[in-house]
Symmetry: C2
Subunit: 266 residues, 2 copies
Amino acid sequence: MRQIPDNYVSEFSLVEKPDLQMANNLLLKSFRRKDFVIIVGNCRCEYSGRASSSLDWGDRITLIKGDGSVQVHRPSGYEPVNWQPPGCMFSIFFEGSSLNIRSNRPKPKEILDIFFRDISFIASGRPVDDAEFNLHVSEEQMRDALVSNPGILEEGLRLIDFERKVEPGFIDFYGKDALGRIVVVELKRASAGKEAVLQLKRYVDEVKKTNRVTVRGILVAPRLKSGAQSMLVSLGMEFKKLTPEKCAEVLHKNKMTKISEFFESD
Amino acid sequence: MRQIPDNYVSEFSLVEKPDLQMANNLLLKSFRRKDFVIIVGNCRCEYSGRASSSLDWGDRITLIKGDGSVQVHRPSGYEPVNWQPPGCMFSIFFEGSSLNIRSNRPKPKEILDIFFRDISFIASGRPVDDAEFNLHVSEEQMRDALVSNPGILEEGLRLIDFERKVEPGFIDFYGKDALGRIVVVELKRASAGKEAVLQLKRYVDEVKKTNRVTVRGILVAPRLKSGAQSMLVSLGMEFKKLTPEKCAEVLHKNKMTKISEFFESD
DNA sequence: TGCTAAATCTCGAAC
DNA sequence: GTTCGAGGTTTAGCA
């Protein structure tokens, strides 16, 4: 078996200005092989399913992936103008003087028809990509930081439980403060708005209902959206600022501590 | 001035297997011209901004649009693994033995670095697409149908206001029924779930609070998600079915009526 | 499989 | 410019 070199790039076959008959043959083969296909050309689109849409002729870039997803990109805009999520079946046939690529999504039932009348080029291949994607600062990591070091919020704060199930959902951080009062924390990675305030309120009410004691509700986030502050105050709750940067710092310190512990115990 | 034919397709330049120096030159030119660029090759990515991420080497398809948006696509999945929204500035330089395309988003400050070590091909061009995109059945159109003809929901229902601002948000339809009771309608274009029930509940509560009268809450959608029905009933509210097809029919009739009125008044 | 909550959500409109 | 809500949202995590 031939060794694949570390920087091997799966070749893409390129066909420039194919006529529609050739395009039909190329695409049939690619669909059967579940190749990654790029089609640049002049097309129109019809979509029908959860909603329905139509788009007249224009030059677009179409990506069809081996997992059965499709996206039609216009010259500008981040989002595709038409698309299908993974899991589609493809068929292809002539419709008048244009070539119709139909992608069929079974559930929910959705169909996207792309009609090509002119194709600039078709590229197809099987890209190889086994790398792991790593997102560094998530809400979960912010919670980890808080759980591992509640003191960053307030002197004397102690953890009782996290991701604690109560009826409306999960309490990010459940603990007691220096005076022994129950503390319920709702954590947001970005600006916290009124919906976060209401969510926290529901948790606090639920905890009060079952415990019948004083419960502090603290909304923790990098900042508040406008209106959230007054709402929070009027509902008798608090806001405390916590930034991703601070969390990263705490998590870094934890790691360092663990490493030094490892050496001490060795 | 030369006439552009109706099915004119702006040509894409294709360069297969360019070395990194040639790729650098090609891309520099394309960035200056704000071309649409497609790069297929082996790359790694580093992103830093609202969050941060890293992705090791793999074969990927990169789209760079004239509006300054970027997306790096893996062999599978609908969404790009890394991206930048429109409005970025690009720079390109060598980093060790790889070619680094840096996209810089000013506000919020975000940087995406894509490092190429091998490029299968680069395609660039200026696609022309002036077509209007048309989404046929939107929630707004369903509301228009309901507002223009409240009778489709219930005999004797009258409109008082729509898109009415109350604190949690906007009430889709606000009216009175045949018995003079206030009716609050929450409209969903697709299946309505528990979150829609809760949304309606908040609006009803808000209206009750300010008006201190009987308020009917009606959830209007093509169908309910499982669990929503019992939740709705237990909160003392109702469901009424309304399909996009019915709305389309009503809107069509309205248009016909307007046209005939036009002829009568002529 | 169905539901819930988050997202580097994006996008557009209203304030 | 900011905020807010909708989306053919998509996607990931669970029951």
